[in-house]
């Protein structure tokens, strides 16, 4: 049996890699993927703790998180496409004005 601590440590490492991606990358698509990685790490911790306390609530929460992530990606990518159409550039350093 794998101790559940190992899953939690792996989840923390994956979350940190995602946070690092948000901090160091300049491409909004990669930043988005890093956010997905962080959501995934949180999901892994949810399922790991749910398996310890023998409850399905954790798994159901993960199901909802997956649905919310899908909605978030659809709207976020639509925003990125729209920004690209107006600025012809997707570097996040260039996105410094609220007016299009």
């Amino acid at each position: 049996m794998v101790p559940v601590d190992y899953y939690i440590i792996l989840s923390a490492i994956l979350f940190t890699i995602g946070a690092l991606g948000v901090l160091v990358r300049r491409n909004p698509l990669i930043i988005f993927m890093s956010i997905e990685l962080m959501l995934n790490a949180a999901n892994l911790a949810f399922v790991a703790f749910a398996s310890v306390i023998q409850s399905f609530s954790g798994q159901i929460f993960v199901f909802f998180v997956i649905a919310v992530a899908a909605a978030e990606v659809a709207v976020g990518l639509a925003l990125i496409v729209e920004i690209f159409k107006t600025k012809h550039n997707i570097n996040v350093d260039e996105m410094n004005s609220l007016k299009g």
Binding site: M1, L20, R25, S34, V47
Partner: protein, 174 residues
Amino acid sequence: MSVDLILFLILALVAIATALGMLFSRHAVYSAIFLVLNFVTVAVFYILLGAPFIAMSQVTVYAGAIMVLFLFVIMLLGAQDLPPSQALPWQRPLAGILALILTAESVYILTVRARPDGLVTQPAASVNTMDSLRAMATMLFNQYLFPFEVTSILLLVAMVGAIVLTKREKGEQG
């Protein structure tokens, strides 16, 4: 060392390596492919933890739908390689140091402080997949029925939002 532990360690290495590969790939398409591999690895972890339904949703929704959407947008935008930013040269090392601190802190807090009382090893995963699936479905459609319906409205709103955002106005040249 049990078979489970060896399997876990190998998969954990793959998961961390693909996450780092996603982070450091110069090309956005490579990042997306690395992330697909990472999602599939996490799906295997879900199966090891006795959550087969979540594992399958992970593969279909994350590795399937979401990453296909990502690849569509990457191809739409031309997958340009952005040059490294010159704006804040101290940002990268600082981010690395802060990330190390965050890892150490979250590992400490999650494994020492937030651990459920006395339970450190994971109990045997449910042997019968159908039973656990049936129990989960019963819970989802009874106790969590309202959040489930709210999720459907959320997905509808996201769909309408994405269409409105990308739709061209009538008469607009683009």
